[in-house]
Symmetry: D2
Amino acid sequence: MSEGKKVVLAYSGGLDTSTILVWLIEQGYQVIAYLANIGQEEDFDAVRTKALKFGALKMVILDLRKEFVEEFIWPAVQANATYEDRYLLGTSLARPLIARAMVKVAVDEGAHYVAHGATGKGNDQIRFELGAYALHPTIEVISPWRLPEFYQRFKGRTDLFKYAEEHGIPLPVTLSSPWSMDANLMHISYESGVLEDPNHQAPAGLFQMTADPEKAPDNSDVIEIEFKKGVPIKVTNQEQGVELTEALDIFVYLNKVGGKHGIGRVDLVENRFIGMKSRGIYETPGGTILLTAHTDIEVFTMDRELRKIKRTLDIQFGDQVYKGFWFSPECEFTRFCIAKSQENVEGVVTLKLFKGGVYILGRKSPLSLYNKELVSMNVQGDYEPVDAGGFIKINALRLREYARLRKKIEK
Amino acid sequence: MSEGKKVVLAYSGGLDTSTILVWLIEQGYQVIAYLANIGQEEDFDAVRTKALKFGALKMVILDLRKEFVEEFIWPAVQANATYEDRYLLGTSLARPLIARAMVKVAVDEGAHYVAHGATGKGNDQIRFELGAYALHPTIEVISPWRLPEFYQRFKGRTDLFKYAEEHGIPLPVTLSSPWSMDANLMHISYESGVLEDPNHQAPAGLFQMTADPEKAPDNSDVIEIEFKKGVPIKVTNQEQGVELTEALDIFVYLNKVGGKHGIGRVDLVENRFIGMKSRGIYETPGGTILLTAHTDIEVFTMDRELRKIKRTLDIQFGDQVYKGFWFSPECEFTRFCIAKSQENVEGVVTLKLFKGGVYILGRKSPLSLYNKELVSMNVQGDYEPVDAGGFIKINALRLREYARLRKKIEK
Amino acid sequence: MSEGKKVVLAYSGGLDTSTILVWLIEQGYQVIAYLANIGQEEDFDAVRTKALKFGALKMVILDLRKEFVEEFIWPAVQANATYEDRYLLGTSLARPLIARAMVKVAVDEGAHYVAHGATGKGNDQIRFELGAYALHPTIEVISPWRLPEFYQRFKGRTDLFKYAEEHGIPLPVTLSSPWSMDANLMHISYESGVLEDPNHQAPAGLFQMTADPEKAPDNSDVIEIEFKKGVPIKVTNQEQGVELTEALDIFVYLNKVGGKHGIGRVDLVENRFIGMKSRGIYETPGGTILLTAHTDIEVFTMDRELRKIKRTLDIQFGDQVYKGFWFSPECEFTRFCIAKSQENVEGVVTLKLFKGGVYILGRKSPLSLYNKELVSMNVQGDYEPVDAGGFIKINALRLREYARLRKKIEK
Amino acid sequence: MSEGKKVVLAYSGGLDTSTILVWLIEQGYQVIAYLANIGQEEDFDAVRTKALKFGALKMVILDLRKEFVEEFIWPAVQANATYEDRYLLGTSLARPLIARAMVKVAVDEGAHYVAHGATGKGNDQIRFELGAYALHPTIEVISPWRLPEFYQRFKGRTDLFKYAEEHGIPLPVTLSSPWSMDANLMHISYESGVLEDPNHQAPAGLFQMTADPEKAPDNSDVIEIEFKKGVPIKVTNQEQGVELTEALDIFVYLNKVGGKHGIGRVDLVENRFIGMKSRGIYETPGGTILLTAHTDIEVFTMDRELRKIKRTLDIQFGDQVYKGFWFSPECEFTRFCIAKSQENVEGVVTLKLFKGGVYILGRKSPLSLYNKELVSMNVQGDYEPVDAGGFIKINALRLREYARLRKKIEK
């Protein structure tokens, strides 16, 4: 039926997507394999070779790292973005970018289908597909792990291995991995396997992006991050002679120096969009440093009441991104408003990095609303203490009325 | 005029409140000195002796530590309470307690006035006075640092020293302290003086409650905190043979072990209620550990959507407390609702403490909504992957409509 | 396959559910027909006769009107509940009640299935099923209008008519109704058919619960509604000699008098949970009067800041109810908190009803926070005007700082 | 002392501000009287004559009506702005405009002071002064009704009358007005006097802008309002041959036709910024029509989730405006974001006006997200009913988990 139909498959070169590639061809599709370079460690040439060997019409590999930082991570920095207070959204931010490029490949190649290997219980299927539908409302998505004809055929890893052997797909070195991971420029996440027991401590050997804080260097690094319009425009490590101004360079460096000091590890349980609780372990070194630094410069330069409104938007942004609604009217609006709020978020934050910790040492800004004279305990500044008395009295007015009512009720 | 009028003065024994004590007597007041023990380091007997020596009618010293933990800190733990994302409210939480006891002393002693030594630029004047007015709407507050006749007489420290010498009030050992501090069971805060320059790094010798992370022990401690209804009911350090179940004991221990590992230091700029930005440095060891642990057990046991609503209340609670509205209709309501949300927040969190860091190792609960089988990558559980397809399609519906409209507009 | 399996069918006696009844029996189910009396106009005996005639094992008819008012409408009154600012949730509030009773019937009858005739594009399918799953997580739901084997068999009304004729199901008098309607004690809603054109004016003959305001009486009615804990406990129409104190009586009377005066008609477009926009016309006479009156007494008696928090909860409640989450952790919590907020919402509101309008004439309360002397322009009361100066100056502080920054930037 | 100092006085020509004018001159000020024409009924020449007669250096009268509509009322329309759900902010919106022009006069005239006659218990003092400080941080404000030397001299109306007689200030015709009123293009508000009793019905003769609904015409008017970017750009009354496209014309017409039909009366209790509850009666004919129409076209054209975020901003905007923070970082931001949300809010709403009621008859838009085919009960459109099943199942997932936990707890 689908003879000759073209599908763009998000292809990683691993067992699952290789199986899907072969299976799709079996179903009569012409497969264009597609892989986004978003900073993960990968032998891209090997992936290309594999894809073509398994019958892909073509292998498209795109370097999206710069876009990832500038168009996805930077807005998240402006938003102090987290999901449920703790997860820095490393995977969530990458998915819409991957989907956008995947849709573009589909349009360029005249494919009416896109396919991916995300599981049927996770968030990523949603993020890929909402992104695809939002950008290309008539695209059709093939998600094999949700198709009964696929998932009932490959019920366990054994079925997969058998099929792989029959089709010359190489098996992973260790047949049953103790957990799964997802890596990109922003973070590595670990979940499932032994980690499914939320009380099972993450094994020491799990982490790949950060040093164990207990084994991190005994000497700290002090860095300066300069922000303009809420995004970093320069990172300096004077002692090490580092000064970087390109977005990608800045982020890569923060990952490196943060990773060296064991920064950004978190073990948490989160609520997936589909409603189940899931345990994940994340390491986000550069993102953690930037969250700390940006929060600081933002409070320093932004009006209190404006920031209160903006923080509500931040939380909504985190939710939207986590749930896969990057390309949506509400997320576009939220990003637009947050970006507006960042106009004066400018200045330099000095931080010390040491054994898992990010410590702020100071901050300065040409645009701060901080007024040293006004706040001084020793100088009066343009301030009349007596005004505070009136301020308090007026604020107390409704409390006193309430107290009177309460006394009346108690009687 | 105020001959014979009684005033309860919040008295610390320091230069400022001693001066105020003497000055109030000069103005014709009968002064009842009052000091709350909320866990600060203090020679209470020496304060009593001073007060009486300077002419106080009476010195009332109250041990409020247990109330502080159980009635003020625990609700803050339930609320994951912060102000502006970072300040754990150590001072803010103590103020309403001090005000409540101060009002009680005033009622018991038949005093119509209360007085305090808080400055006219800070938050504490507001917290004391709103608390006092809310609990006793007809009380009158004397705030000398807002009275022109007082603050114009004592314009600088020199005036204060001169008056002190004349009245036998002992001067502090170092005449000009490089910063001011406020200490209680929950935290120590440092501000003003050299810290008024927000880019001036906090001096190494400043901290008194926590070790410098760089000098903290090379060996971590692993502790378990058990929660019930969102508050800690047991802390265990198996290796050290520690097991505590009393609220005050738990909190004191967490301070001690947290302080030993250099946990809970933060350098920040915050927005005071009166509208100015102010730089503060805080150390909150026990509070920081509890914030981390409680957040974890809460997400583990609480429904996602309930928690979203609850987090909005949390933020409002933090704001209310910071601004001095503990005793207000809205804060009572907020606490009531938050407490309700905690009914199932129960279980044990295991944490590692190491050189400034609090690391979660795992968590377990008899009441968790976490369902290991449901979330498993290897077991299907009570879950049909195909349902997720419908879920995504329906969620995409409005995005696709929006895309169609956008295309129409673009034409 | 489902031979002998019992299903409880929400049965209205109409063409659709009669067809479903017969079809379910065809599929081998034993059908227990179930109909909730929630105040709709209905010949219940005729429905019973039909159900049994078409082969139902049993017909269960339950009078839920009192529960509807006391357990569902009253909480909505406390919440000033609307969806998207305008829809008073008449259908949404009834659905969880119907679902609860349906589940109870299933449990009592030992049925593992429930079935309903709601369409696959609407909200009601969601409300029924979320209610059912929440109360009985292992129940199975049969929704024929979502089953391809059903909806592909009955593609148009013609198929349905043919099947009906073959099975002795009486056809409606007018074969193609120009719109569909849903009626209960709280409201009647009209949608689809000619109303699907959002610019097509609602036909004059459509409304059944309210008079046309243009034809309503030329004489107004003045009524008094007394509230306690945020719910009406007495309605009085002195001129007409009416005084009612039972919940159901109060609501029925408000519908009657409101309907007489043409109150509560609204024509709107709303966003369904599944994401499409839909046009609906509603008449909610009693609900509209209560929304107006309750809002008034609430502002009169509730603290400003408490009400701000409560209003956020109200909006969330409206959303939860609309989307079918009445039985959910978040909606239980929201109702609990809102109920708490109503403790002092007590007093009497006097209203005039006239040709579509509800006009408040006055209100009084033993628990109001309104203080006539305090607010008086002619009496000073316990208020010092000079305090307002300090209040303003302090509120202006951050605005002046901002102005200074702006001037600096402009330079 | 203030010899030769220039002050700009907001001067209405009434008893209070005439007294203030004379008193300011007595205190040695040079007074520039200033009056904004914001649509109130006024004999502006007579006011000018008075001001100069009483000694004003100059009388500046500015016609701000167009600015009022375009820069203040239109943003409020975009925001569906209300305060506490009911007050349409007619006075609140005018105040920042008056303050802005007043500051401009002060700058132009080289005056360092501005003065106004607002009372010390109201909101207007705050709105004027926050506006003035925000736009001109070093301006000084003279608010006689907050100055003890003024308000203790003029304790009652008698003192004022005596002073007026001595200085040739004409007394009002009726010595004691039964209430006070404030009128502008947007509304008239009535408060104080007999209205201070919240249960005292508003006298029939009070209203000046709207007909009594009971005496309004028996024939309705049907009008069409066309919106673009969320603001009205055309009003049509086909039957009456009316078609208007200028902002000021549109608003004046809506007031006229709304007033004729008795639209926009409301009697409410509100919470003033200073914390007291106050009773006000408002008539806002044009504003009420626009709120109804704009809400309708907004829901019709705006994405559901975007609107949810926008509605939170709306509520914040209403609060900011009520409290006098129009010129503030947060209100500028809020207006900016709301304006952004209005890009596609375009189309025509048809409304019937009749005896106090505004009834929507229909709406159409070139940019609507409404999809008639998608929502149709008779056409399947681009929609698979089966998807809704998956949607519901996934939404039920966490409810079922919760039910299981609950059962576990109950055991």
